[in-house]
Subunit: 193 residues, 2 copies
DNA sequence: CTTCGGATTGAACGCATGTTTAAACTATAG
DNA sequence: CTATAGTTTAAACATGCGTTCAATCCGAAG
């Protein structure tokens, strides 16, 4: 009764849960998730065991989407923004926002991966001579990653800071575009290089 | 039966609510708040009307504590950290963290006040010649404020980034201390000035 | 002392939640 | 066709929640 192009019922429930968690946080009710997936509440438990198990699976799935799909070595924060454009898939930016504020293991795991990518980028820049030799890029990487996540963690404040109504991928890119040259050249130093 | 030095029952409930919200988020139950304040659950409603009203009052109170008490013109992010040292008062850092991730009006209000302070600081720095004249400090202020809030919004990631177990005021200061000179001098420009 | 209004309590109410359960449905294998 | 195992549903269950309510306590006013 289900064509091959459609996804399986567990996958549909999983995506509905990701949308619901992104929209309403973990307070999203199982009944709401079930309704969004077009199934009975009991079926959610039957397939995933419990709400906590469902959440862990959603965390893992979103992390996989963000890291494995297109970021083989380029998992910068900017690359994450690309995932927030398509409306077909769940709105991952809001889900990541919830993750970043939940102290879940998935959040630190994602942070570690992003830090690793930032560290590689900084190494390359320093090797290319665009970062002074006395800068400790190893210690700087996690801090820069943390600060770079601010627009993702607080999109409402980003909208206020940039005078926009909504926050989309272009807003995230604009924020990075405004900060990166300052980091590179500094507020005082020359920008010739 | 209550000495003058002790605070009134509503104030005790309010502080208990701030501690509970900071610790458990808005999911903190009225029963837990009442127990922490040493009163019956019904008394919380009697004094504050509803849980939502209590939350709004807590938001306003925390904002007042942060802005009015000691930040007459110096409400920088660093100054907020000073409020997180004393264990006598509620742990405001966690409460602010919840606020920043709640899209509440109080969050944007606090952000606006912090942005204003950042703007003043940038103007002074530019007037003193420590910021190039072509830097648009008016547009930079809200962005810098947003990024500066990252350690407050994601203390667990800050701990991971700095290799610490716990996040206290010194951790926040260390993060700022590591980033500010980079912003000033840039990753490539000289740091002579 | 008596009275009266607010403070306070403990119990109850109504409701939403996550989960369980038994039954009905469906597809596949023999 | 029949049997069987997995899928799905609707209803019920148990619990915790915010809130209400009637009764009690207590201090100040008369």
């Amino acid at each position: 009764m289900r064509s091959i192009s459609e996804q399986s019922t567990p996958a549909r429930i999983r995506d509905a849960a990701i949308r619901a968690f992104a929209r309403d946080g973990y307070q999203a009710t199982i009944r709401a998730i079930a309704a969004e997936a077009g199934v009975a509440p009991g079926l959610v438990i039957h397939h995933f065991g419990s709400k906590d198990d469902l959440r862990e699976l959603c965390d893992a799935h979103v992390t996989t989407l963000l890291l494995d799909e297109k970021t083989q070595g380029a998992a910068t924060i900017a690359s994450i923004a690309d995932h927030f454009v398509g409306e077909d898939s769940p709105p991952l930016i809001d889900y990541v926002r919830r993750m970043l504020n939940s102290d879940s293991p998935a959040a630190t795991a994602l942070f570690d991966r992003l830090t690793e990518a930032t560290r590689r980028m900084l190494r390359d820049q320093q090797a290319a001579g665009r970062i002074r030799e006395d800068v400790d890029v190893e210690a700087l990487a996690p801090l820069l990653t943390l600060y770079g996540l601010a627009p993702v963690a607080m999109p409402a404040l980003l909208a206020r800071a940039t005078g926009r109504e909504t926050v989309d991928a272009t807003a995230l890119e604009a924020a990075s575009a405004a900060m990166l040259p300052l980091l590179s050249g500094g507020l005082y130093g020359d920008t010739s290089q």
